[in-house]
């Protein structure tokens, strides 16, 4: 057990920039949540604890308290209890499978009175911590192969539980650890393979297998000619070619059987295969209308018609970016982009400078999570990605996500300060 010595730890000073970005995003979040609840002709009192914006005020207050506690405790504690925290969160998630409440089709909430907790959100920070700790220990291990298996397992276990909760969006977020792995030496070839697989999948789903096969064959021929003198490579090329073809033919099968109908609908829409603006694509369509109608400077605070009149679904949570886009326009969305960009860049930069690999691992881990949340959430509201319901960190309404992301960020600020 490391000893507690706050005065010594505080001496270097926490990263003020990160704290500023955090406060700015949380403030934007609250202002926007208030706007989504605002009723033009009725009174909308600031304190009405039946209303999300007042509840969010409590979440913000408690989050700041939580942040302060994290900054005050010894960073050794964070490292020390990483596995314990991971297991605790995993326990809660499994508990949810049995006693959880279902909200919007995902059974991922523990309800205690009027208060609901989503363990998945905490699982993300727990996984980042556990991963960092595991990788640090793995550095000195003899059998590197088992380290990789361990890392994979750390991610796979929560992903399986999350999938059992029908929360595909959160499962996807765990994929963001690939950024950490890439930074720490994951083969570029593996990444290239992933990208090729993604391209083949998109081509196959958007059109059909013929195009993918044609593309593969063209590339294969080029490689065969280039490597015509190297027998070993020729054999490898043939193997990869055949494997790729098998993969291409399995895509449609996996797609048909691996996704729920509504998920397939959302993917088909993004691929441009179907269009049903009044039916299945209503939410996406309305989301684009809300953001698109904002123009350069927006309609003005509290003046957004699309969000006020409930055309946009889930506008204080997953679709909160619509309210920002509508009321503050391109200018407002740029501000949010800049803040996130700065936040992520800052985390990466500080991680890179770190001498302590644990902090770097952790930093890359949570940077990946922020990146995933940011791009998936906003990508869905502007029609670049299929609708995947995950919150926009710090801005979306919700206690669990705000607490978890606060914890995530302030653990880093604390660790970085060490």
């Amino acid at each position: 057990m490391p000893k507690l010595d706050p005065y010594n730890k505080m001496s270097k000073g926490f990263d003020v920039k990160l704290i500023c970005y955090y406060l700015a995003l949380v403030l934007i979040g609250w202002i926007t949540i208030y706007s989504t609840c605002y009723i033009p002709d009725g009174s909308t009192p600031i304190f009405d604890f039946g209303q999300p914006y007042s509840k969010q005020m409590i979440w913000i207050g408690t989050s700041i308290l939580l942040a302060t506690v994290i900054l005050l405790i010894d960073s050794g504690i964070i490292q020390h209890y990483a596995y314990f925290f991971y297991l605790f969160c995993l326990f809660l998630m499994i508990l949810v499978l049995f006693i959880g409440a279902e909200i919007n089709g995902a059974k991922s909430w523990i309800k205690i009175g009027s208060f609901s907790l989503q363990p998945t959100e905490f699982m993300k920070v727990a996984t980042a911590l556990a991963m960092a700790k595991f990788m640090q220990e793995g550095k000195t291990a003899n059998e590197k192969r088992y380290v990789w298996i361990g890392q994979f397992a750390l991610i796979l276990i929560p992903v399986i539980v999350v999938m059992l909760q029908h929360d595909a969006g959160s499962a996807l977020v765990f994929g963001s650890f690939i950024i950490l792995f890439y930074r720490e030496g994951l083969s570029s070839g593996f990444l290239v393979m992933c990208i090729i697989a993604a391209i083949l999948t998109i081509i196959t789903l958007a059109w059909n297998e013929t195009y993918s096969i044609a593309l593969l064959t063209a590339v294969f021929i080029v490689f065969m000619i280039a490597n015509r003198t190297q027998k070993k490579k020729l054999r490898r090329n043939v193997f990869v070619y055949i494997a790729s073809i098998l993969f291409v033919f399995s895509i449609n099968f996996l797609y048909e059987h691996g996704f729920e109908p509504h998920q397939k609908q959302r993917i088909d829409t993004i691929l441009g295969k179907t269009s049903d603006p009044l039916g299945a694509d209503f939410n996406l369509n309305q989301s684009k209308i809300a953001i698109g109608s904002g123009g350069l400077f927006g309609k003005g605070y509290l003046k957004g018609t699309q969000t006020k009149l409930k055309f946009v679904p889930e506008q204080s949570t997953d679709f909160i970016f619509c309210a920002i886009g509508e009321e503050w326009g391109f200018f407002g969305t740029l501000v949010v982009f800049s803040l996130y960009g700065a936040l992520i860049f800052r985390i990466l930069k500080l991680s890179e400078k770190q001498r302590n690999p644990f902090v770097r691992y952790y930093g890359y881990g949570i940077a990946g999570i922020f990146i995933a949340h940011f791009f998936i959430n906003i990508g869905m509201t502007i029609g670049l990605l299929p609708i995947i319901g995950i919150p926009l960190p710090f801005i979306s309404y919700g206690g669990s996500s705000l607490w978890a992301f606060t914890m995530m960020l302030f653990c880093f600020i604390k660790l970085n300060d060490n």
Binding site: Y182, E184, G292, T305, F330, L334, F345, I382, G383
Partner: protein, 602 residues
């Protein structure tokens, strides 16, 4: 390991940068470049509700209401805002077939996705109440109230005209109108459309995703208050109009009564007619079809659109022209003997009236006198070089009294009538014709055909001793005293005033001791002229021209009853009863009145 891979930091940053740039471009495109989302957002959240102003009322000259408005409710639909709803329920409430609903929705969607279309016209007040409560179950639908024309008395349909939904042509001609709007299609409704319609207002309201109204848009900054239509005072005398229509019941024909000093039409009757309430609202298409198919042609306005041979009433005009052209004087005597006016072997029959001057010629309606006079007008080679010139001069006189033209005031679809030109006769008779060739026009037969309105106007010229004011049907707009002055120019005929005294004197004698004794009204001196218009298709038309009181004319009446026979038998008593009713506000000759009302000539 970290040292080995630190370049990957930059790769990760680069990929992040590319992603950020992609998203920013996408947002810029969505928010700044693509303007369609602004429009779509407005279509979503802002519904523009047109406020249809109440159409102006129409009163008669004595402030009696002729046309007013009734409330009606239309069910509108915005196809884009529709969501699946309980079609059966809608069918049940509106009493429609599913097939109808589908057709209506298709039509609405074809017209426009986002602009409201009429779904069902004039739903009942009960259905309105029911639907208003359940509106949230029928997204995309809403109820719009408007007004319908209503007529307290089933009279004057032809002259009041009707309003109906605009057609594509109307919308194209005037962008004030949108499909589903109403427009005056004939009569006063058409002539004064811009006055009666008022100005549409609009209200922009916010609607939420469930199609519920959520208050006004921008605090009503863009709302426009509707301006109600302006009321109009017609020149018609409602009671006289109704009385005339009652007298004409069971007969075909027309009556036009004018106040000569003002040109105001006191009544304008075309029989058979129809109840204007038939052409209102949902019953309109069905009833209109029936009226169109009716062999009696009730939609046809005989007073303005039927050209009749005027019969002996035309002699008045020819007498005036003969006096003006010095063909005759008041002391000129023509003799009528031998059964009439002889042209070779052809005879225009008369009653051997003996020698008579213009007064007694009018009194006895002598064919011989007026044939001779007409022949002499056309044979006047002192004044005119040839027949063409003489005939054209005669036409000039006629048109100076209002013939051969439309008055172009506020009356619907007037006809010019037909009186042939000199060229027509040149051609017809191969340039070899004279006064005798066309002499039957001298007594109102033959080629001449004029409208009842033109005849009534000629009577106004006589009553005014030389001029007329173009007949019109609206006397005041907006306020009963703000007189409609656009038609009040005096138009003078080419006849000197003194000649009218002569003709009027003859007309008095018609009533006191001539062919029109039946027109006598106790206590009122009446001037008149009978006529019998030859009708090759059947029995002659009965015609009567009346001016009363003769010394200070308040009313001129031209009455024509198709197939009524002699002027004295039907048209004369009807015109006389109407004059009595108008001047005395009551009728003492009730026996005659009953007889005329019950007379059926069809």
């Amino acid at each position: 390991m970290s040292q080995d891979n630190s370049n990957r930091y930059y790769i990760i940053l680069a990929v992040l940068g590319i992603l950020m740039a992609t998203y920013t471009i996408r947002l810029f495109n969505l928010q700044v470049l693509d303007k369609s989302y602004k429009r779509k957002a407005n279509e979503n959240a802002i519904r523009e509700i047109t406020i249809h102003p109440a159409r102006g009322f129409i009163y008669d000259r004595n402030d009696s209401l002729l046309v007013y408005n009734d409330a009606a409710y239309d069910l509108m639909v915005v196809p884009k805002e529709m969501r699946p709803f309980d079609t059966m329920e809608l069918c049940r409430v509106l009493d429609l077939e599913i097939e109808d609903v589908r057709k209506k929705l298709d039509k609405a969607a074809k017209y426009s996705g986002s602009v409201p279309s009429l779904f069902k016209q004039q739903i009942s007040k009960e259905d309105y109440g029911y639907l208003q409560e359940k509106m949230s179950e029928f997204p995309g639908f809403f109820v719009q109230s408007r007004t319908l024309r209503s007529y307290p008395q089933p009279i004057a349909a032809h002259i009041l005209g009707y309003v109906s939904e605009v057609d594509e042509q109307d919308v194209e001609n005037d962008n004030y109108y949108k499909m589903g709007d109403y427009i005056g299609k004939s009569g006063i409704e058409k002539a004064y459309e811009s006055v009666l319609r008022g100005i549409k207002g609009k209200r922009k309201v916010l609607v939420d995703v469930h199609n519920r109204e959520m208050g006004s848009y921008d605090n009503g900054a863009e709302d426009v208050v509707a301006v109600p239509g302006t009321s109009i005072w017609s020149t018609l005398d409602m009671q006289l109009q109704r009385y005339g229509e009652e007298l004409m019941a069971g007969k075909r024909g027309a009556i036009v009564a004018i106040e000569p000093k003002t040109g105001e039409i006191l009544c304008l009757i075309s029989s058979p007619n129809y109840d204007p309430n038939l052409l209102v609202g949902t019953a309109r298409p069905k009833n209109y079809g029936k009226l169109v198919m009716d062999p009696e042609k009730p939609l046809f306005n005989r007073a303005l659109q039927a050209a009749y041979p005027p019969g002996s009433t035309f002699k008045l005009a020819n007498g005036l022209i003969a006096l003006q052209d010095h063909i005759i004087t008041t002391s000129t005597v023509y003799s009528c003997s031998g059964g009439g006016y002889h042209i070779g072997s052809h005879v225009v029959h008369c009653h051997n009236c003996g020698g008579l001057n213009i007064y007694s010629a009018i009194q006895r309606s002598c064919n011989t006198f007026f044939c001779r006079a007409y022949y002499n007008i056309l044979s006047n080679r002192v004044k005119y070089k040839n027949i063409d010139e003489a005939y054209t001069a005669w036409l000039d006189y006629m048109s100076s009294m209002g013939f051969l033209q439309v008055f172009n005031t506020d009356l619907p679809y007037e006809l010019k009538g037909r009186i042939p030109t000199a060229e027509y006769f040149d051609k017809k008779y191969n340039n070899s014709w004279n006064g005798n060739t066309v002499v039957s026009m001298g007594i109102g037969q033959g080629e001449a055909a004029v409208t009842p309105l033109q005849m009534a106007n000629m009577l106004a010229v006589i009553a005014n001793k030389g001029y007329y004011i173009r007949p019109h049907v609206v006397r005041a707009i907006g306020h009963r005293d703000s007189l409609n002055t656009q038609f009040n120019d005096k138009i003078y005929s080419k006849i000197e005033p003194r000649h009218f005294e002569t003709v009027l004197q003859g007309m008095k004698m018609v009533v006191t001791a001539g062919t029109g004794r039946g027109a006598q009204i106790p206590g009122i001196e009446v001037a008149g002229k009978t006529g019998t218009a030859q009708n090759p298709q059947g029995r002659d038309h009965s015609v009567f021209a009346l001016i009363a009181p003769a010394n200070d004319p308040q009313i001129v009446i031209f009455c024509l009853v198709e197939n009524g026979g002699f002027g004295a038998t039907v048209a004369c008593p009807i015109a006389s009863l109407m004059a009595e009713f108008y001047l005395n506000r009551k009728v003492e000759r009730t026996d005659l009145e009953t007889r005329m009302k019950e007379l059926n000539i069809k």
